[in-house]
C-alpha cells in the first residue's frame, strides 16, 4: 500500500471515490444507468455524484438495459469511457448480446482496429431476501467469454484500486460488487492508486489449508479461518480479485504449500467459478495435494425467498470450517 493517509471507508464510498477521482481526471469518463443521478442508485453508491458532475456525466436511463449497454459500447468505440450501471447482476441476462457478441468481440473481429474501453458495474450476492431474480451471482458466465475481464473486489481497498484499473483499461471490464458488502468498512488510502488485474491477494497467511475465495466469500473464508485457528488449523485465504485474468500461479503455489485447498464462491457451484479454479489447482498442484480440492458454491437451486431456505443455499463460515476440518484430519 502506498504511503499516504488512510481512512476507513465503506465499500460504497470506496467505489464512489474511485469513480469521482477518475471522472475528475478524465473528462471522457461518464456514468449511465437507471436511477444513478439524483437517486444515486437504490444502494446509494453514487450519492452526490450528479451534484458534482452534472446530468451530462451521471445519466439516468430508461429501463432499457440492452439499449443503454449498446450505447455504452458505441460510445466506448468512439472516444468515451462509459461506466454502465446494471442495477442487479441478475439483469445481465438482458445484456448478454451487447456484452458478449458485441463488446467482447469488437476488438478481435476488427483485427484490433476498434476497441471498447467500457466498464460495466453490477452486483452479485444473495441473502437480502430478494428471491430468485434479484440474488444471483453470474460472474462465471462472463469469465467464460474471451474479450472480457472480470473483477470481484472483496474489500474497500481493493474496490477503489481495481475500479480505477478497470476504468483505465482499454477493454470491456465487468465489475461485480456484492450487495451485502456496500456498508462494510475498511482502510482506503487517500488519492490515486491502482491494483493490477490478474494478481491474487493473500488475505491471510496460513500453513495447513488454502481457502481460495472471491468477493463476498472472502469474509466468510476469513471467519472460517478464525474458527479453524481455534482448533489449531492454520488456513491461508487467497483472493484472486479477478477471475479473468486469473492469477493461476499464486493459487497453485498456495495449494502446493498447504497441500489442501477449498474453493469458495457465491455463484452456483455447478459449472461455476469454483470448477475452473478447483481444476486449475488440481492440475497445478497435482503432486502436492493431500486431498481432493473441495468446492463450495451456491446450492443448485434458484435462490429462494424464505429466510431459512435462502440461508441454506449460501456457503457459510460453518460449512467452510467443517469442510476444512474434515480435510485436515484426513490429510
Amino acid at each position: 500500500m502506498p504511503e499516504v493517509a488512510v481512512r476507513e471507508l465503506t465499500m460504497a464510498e470506496a467505489v464512489r471515490e474511485a469513480l469521482s477521482e477518475e471522472m475528475r481526471r478524465d473528462p471522457t469518463v461518464f456514468i449511465m444507468g437507471e436511477d444513478v443521478a439524483e437517486a444515486g442508485t437504490p444502494f446509494k453508491v453514487l450519492s452526490g455524484m450528479v451534484e458534482e458532475f452534472g446530468k451530462t456525466r451521471v445519466i439516468d436511463t430508461p429501463i432499457s438495459e440492452p439499449g443503454f449497454t449498446g450505447i455504452g459500447v458505441g460510445a466506448a468505440m468512439t472516444g468515451l469511457r462509459p461506466v454502465v450501471d446494471i442495477m442487479f447482476g441478475d439483469f445481465l441476462t438482458l445484456v448478454m448480446d451487447q456484452l458478449v457478441n458485441q463488446a467482447a468481440k469488437v476488438h478481435y473481429m476488427s483485427g484490433g482496429a476498434w476497441k471498447v474501453p467500457m466498464v460495466l458495474r453490477t452486483t452479485l450476492g444473495a441473502s437480502r431476501r430478494s428471491a430468485a431474480q434479484h440474488s444471483q451471482s453470474l460472474h462465471a458466465w462472463l469469465s467464460h467469454v474471451p474479450g472480457l475481464k472480470v473483477v470481484l473486489p472483496s474489500t474497500p481497498y481493493d474496490a477503489k484500486g481495481l475500479l480505477k484499473t478497470a476504468i483505465r483499461d482499454d477493454n470491456p471490464v465487468i465489475f461485480f460488487e456484492d450487495k451485502m458488502m456496500f456498508r462494510m468498512k475498511g482502510p482506503v488510502p487517500v488519492g490515486d492508486y491502482t491494483i493490477p488485474f490478474g494478481l491474487a491477494d493473500i488475505k491471510r497467511e496460513g500453513e495447513d489449508i488454502s481457502i481460495v475465495a472471491t468477493s463476498s466469500m472472502v469474509q466468510v473464508a476469513l471467519g472460517a479461518a478464525t474458527m479453524l485457528e481455534e482448533i489449531g488449523i492454520s488456513a491461508e485465504v487467497v483472493d484472486p480479485r479477478t477471475t479473468w485474468p486469473l492469477d493461476e500461479k499464486t493459487l497453485i503455489e498456495s495449494a502446493k504449500k498447504t497441500s489442501r485447498a477449498i474453493v469458495l464462491d457465491e455463484g452456483y457451484e455447478k459449472y461455476g467459478v469454483t470448477a475452473e479454479i478447483a481444476s486449475v489447482i488440481a492440475t497445478g498442484a497435482f503432486y502436492d495435494l493431500d486431498a481432493p480440492v473441495k468446492r463450495i458454491g451456491a446450492m443448485h437451486v434458484p435462490i429462494p425467498f424464505s429466510p431459512p431456505l435462502e440461508d441454506a443455499t449460501i456457503p457459510t463460515e460453518k460449512m467452510v470450517f467443517e469442510a476444512a476440518r474434515a480435510m485436515c484430519k484426513r490429510g
Partner: protein, 333 residues
C-alpha cells in the same frame, strides 16, 4: 378468510349494484392488505422488501372483475393488487410474503413472485417487462387450444423501456392473440419521472403495431372496467390484442423502504392525488350519490374486509417456515 371474488363478465360499466359493491370491496381489500404489508415491514416482521399498490387499486379491480377465473394474468413486482383482484386468498398471500410454507409458493417466491394457477395468475415478475412474453404466450396457448381464454399483461410504464414488449406486441398482432396489455402509468420508474424515460406518445407505440390502444382514468374503476370489458370481449371474440393505458398514482414509495421521496416528487403532488383522485373515494362518492349503497353498507364492507385481513395476518404470523429439507424441492418438475 378467502377473497375469491365471484367473477362475472358484464357488457359495460353499467352493471348491477352488486357488481360495484364487489369492486368496492375488492379495492378496500387491497388497500387494507397493503396497509398491513407496510405495517409488517415497519415492524421488521417481513423479510425483504415490498412494493405497495395503494392508490392504484382501481386498475387491478376494474380489469380483473371483467375476467373469468380461468383467464390469465401476469403481474409485476407491484403485484399484490393484481393477485388479490384475480381471486387469491389473503391468508396464503400473507403467508407467502412472510416466507412461510403455507404461502402460495411454499415461501419460495415471496412478494415479487406470487403465482396461483387456481385463479389464472401466472405470476408476479421481478424483471421489469419480463412477463410480456409469458402473457402473450398464454394468449397464444388459449388460441391454439381453442379455449376462449384471454390473457392480461399488467406492467408499469417503466416497462415501456424494454424491447421485449415491442417484440411481443408485434407477434400478438400478427397472430391475432387474445391478450390485453395494461400499462399502469403511475408516473415514476422507481425514482425517475416517466417523462425523462419515455419519448413520444405512449399510445402511439401499440398503435404502430396495429394494436387498438386507449387511455383511461385509472382512478375511476368504472372507467377502467368499461374499457377493459370491451377489450376483453374483443379478444374473446377473436379480434386480437389491445392496449390499455391506465393513468394512476402510487401513494407510497417505490418500495416500503422508500420514505424520503422529496428529491424526486413533491409532497404536494402526493397530497393532491390522495385528496382528489383516490379510487376508493371516487367510487364511494358515486355509489352514495347514485344511492346504490349507503354509508353503513360501505362501512360494513370495510369492517368485514378488515376482519378478514386481520385473521389472514394472524394466520400467516403463526404459520411455520418451510423446513430446510424443502430447499431442493421444486427445482425440477
Amino acid at each position: 378468510m378467502k377473497t375469491e371474488t365471484k367473477q362475472t363478465v358484464t357488457a359495460s360499466g353499467t352493471g348491477s349494484s352488486e357488481k360495484w359493491l364487489r369492486m368496492y370491496r375488492g379495492m378496500e381489500m387491497i388497500r387494507l392488505f397493503e396497509e398491513q404489508v407496510n405495517e409488517l415491514y415497519t415492524r421488521a416482521v417481513m423479510p425483504g422488501l415490498a412494493h405497495l399498490y395503494i392508490g392504484e387499486e382501481a386498475v387491478a379491480v376494474g380489469i380483473c372483475d371483467a375476467l373469468h377465473r380461468d383467464d390469465y394474468i401476469t403481474s409485476t413486482h407491484r403485484g399484490h393488487g393484481h393477485c388479490l383482484a384475480k381471486g387469491a386468498a389473503t391468508d396464503r398471500m400473507f403467508a407467502e410474503l412472510l416466507g412461510k410454507e403455507a404461502g402460495y409458493c411454499r415461501g419460495k417466491g415471496g412478494s415479487m413472485h406470487i403465482a396461483d394457477p387456481a385463479s389464472g395468475n401466472l405470476g408476479a415478475n421481478a424483471i421489469v417487462g419480463g412477463s410480456a412474453g409469458i402473457a402473450t404466450g398464454a394468449a397464444f396457448s388459449a388460441k391454439h387450444r381453442g379455449t376462449k381464454q384471454v390473457a392480461v399483461c399488467f406492467f408499469g410504464e417503466g416497462a415501456l423501456g424494454q424491447g421485449l414488449l415491442y417484440e411481443v406486441m408485434n407477434l400478438a398482432r400478427l397472430w391475432n392473440l387474445p391478450v390485453i396489455y395494461v400499462c399502469e402509468n403511475n408516473m415514476y420508474n422507481e425514482y425517475t419521472h416517466f417523462s425523462e424515460t419515455t419519448a413520444g406518445e405512449i399510445l402511439a407505440r401499440p398503435a404502430a403495431f396495429g394494436i387498438p390502444a386507449e387511455s383511461v382514468d385509472g382512478q375511476d374503476v368504472r372507467a377502467v372496467h368499461a374499457a377493459a370489458s370491451h377489450m376483453i370481449e374483443e379478444a374473446r371474440a377473436g379480434k386480437g390484442p389491445s392496449f390499455l393505458l391506465c393513468n394512476t398514482y402510487r401513494y407510497h414509495g417505490h418500495h416500503v423502504g422508500d420514505v424520503s421521496r422529496e428529491y424526486y416528487r413533491a409532497k404536494q403532488e402526493e397530497v393532491q392525488w390522495k385528496a382528489e383522485r383516490d379510487p376508493i373515494k371516487v367510487l364511494s362518492g358515486w355509489l352514495l350519490g347514485e344511492k346504490i349503497a349507503t354509508q353503513a353498507q360501505l362501512d360494513e364492507i370495510h369492517s368485514q374486509a378488515k376482519s378478514e385481513i386481520d385473521a389472514a395476518v394472524a394466520f400467516a404470523l403463526q404459520a411455520p417456515y418451510p423446513g430446510t429439507d424443502q430447499v431442493g424441492e421444486d427445482v425440477y418438475a
